[in-house]
Symmetry: C2
Subunit: 141 residues, 2 copies
DNA sequence: ATTCAAATGCGAATAATTTGCATTAGCATA
DNA sequence: TATGCTAATGCAAATTATTCGCATTTGAAT
């Protein structure tokens, strides 16, 4: 069984060609991708998946916590990535590239918070933005 | 001169009734509000401002750094608040209330990051979510 | 008071996402 | 392996949030 199929099984979802293909795109991406990107990537490689199916599959996977949805300051729409590991990005406002951070700066903070406030923290979204080294250079020139 | 007018002056913007009213709503709100909320609030109190003007004024104020735009995990659209102080929220996924945090957990982290990566950090978006005390109780019952 | 660019209102346009419904296809079972 | 039922898909239309074009109005500088 392929990896994509295993993921679907783990979520208790039916295995379909479309779902496999969408998951494969996510597995191949080194950066978060939009629903549209997935749709276009699949179309390019000859597959046929409708955009609404892409959205529907992503929604299901997000609910199952197999995929994470990001709202970036930068982009108009949402981006998606596999939720294998907790991760944050440095987002460059110049070139729009996203650079993953090595660690999450909030782990200890959240524990403290839960104790202090009684708020049951289930997660967070964090995005740090600015200008990458290349774009800093360009700005100076 | 009223506060709202002073804010506009500080931004170098022309003072208009609509802008004053929009800023007043922001000043009165204890929580971030949507463009639609502002529009409705003004309509209720008899004012007349078009929704497109609300969006336009907010956009200008965001560019002038007088207003901050938030994309919450929770809401479909964007929320806005005055950018007087840097602030983050605990967002309750049950009742959708937003509870401001006392401090920003990222200040020292960002400095470290700038040194280590050469990425010029200009800002960040952070939102911590989960369930407030009341909603935790409700879930248990 | 006059002038003129900038701001506003309105409705139409756009972009991202969702939904309804008819058709198709997994997969459990006979 | 064939059959049947439900869930998944495709398509087009609907929604939602936001932006834009253009005619009209209005602040504020003179």
């Amino acid at each position: 069984m392929e990896n994509s199929e295993r993921r679907l099984k783990n979520c208790g979802l039916k295995i379909t060609r479309q779902r496999r293909e969408i998951i494969k795109i996510l597995e191949q991406s080194t950066r978060p991708v939009s629903a549209e990107n997935i749709f276009l990537a699949l179309r390019q490689q000859g597959g046929t998946v409708s955009l609404s199916t892409v959205y529907r599959v992503l929604e299901i996977l997000v609910n199952k916590k197999a995929v994470r949805r990001l709202n970036t300051v930068d982009e108009s729409g949402a981006l998606f990535e596999l939720d294998d590991t907790h991760r944050h990005y440095l987002v460059c406002l110049g070139c729009h590239k996203m650079f993953p951070l090595d660690d999450c700066p909030l782990e200890t903070y959240e524990k403290k918070l839960t104790c202090q406030t009684g708020f049951d923290v289930t997660g967070h979204s964090l995005e740090i933005y600015g200008y990458c080294r290349d774009c800093c250079k360009k700005k100076k020139n």
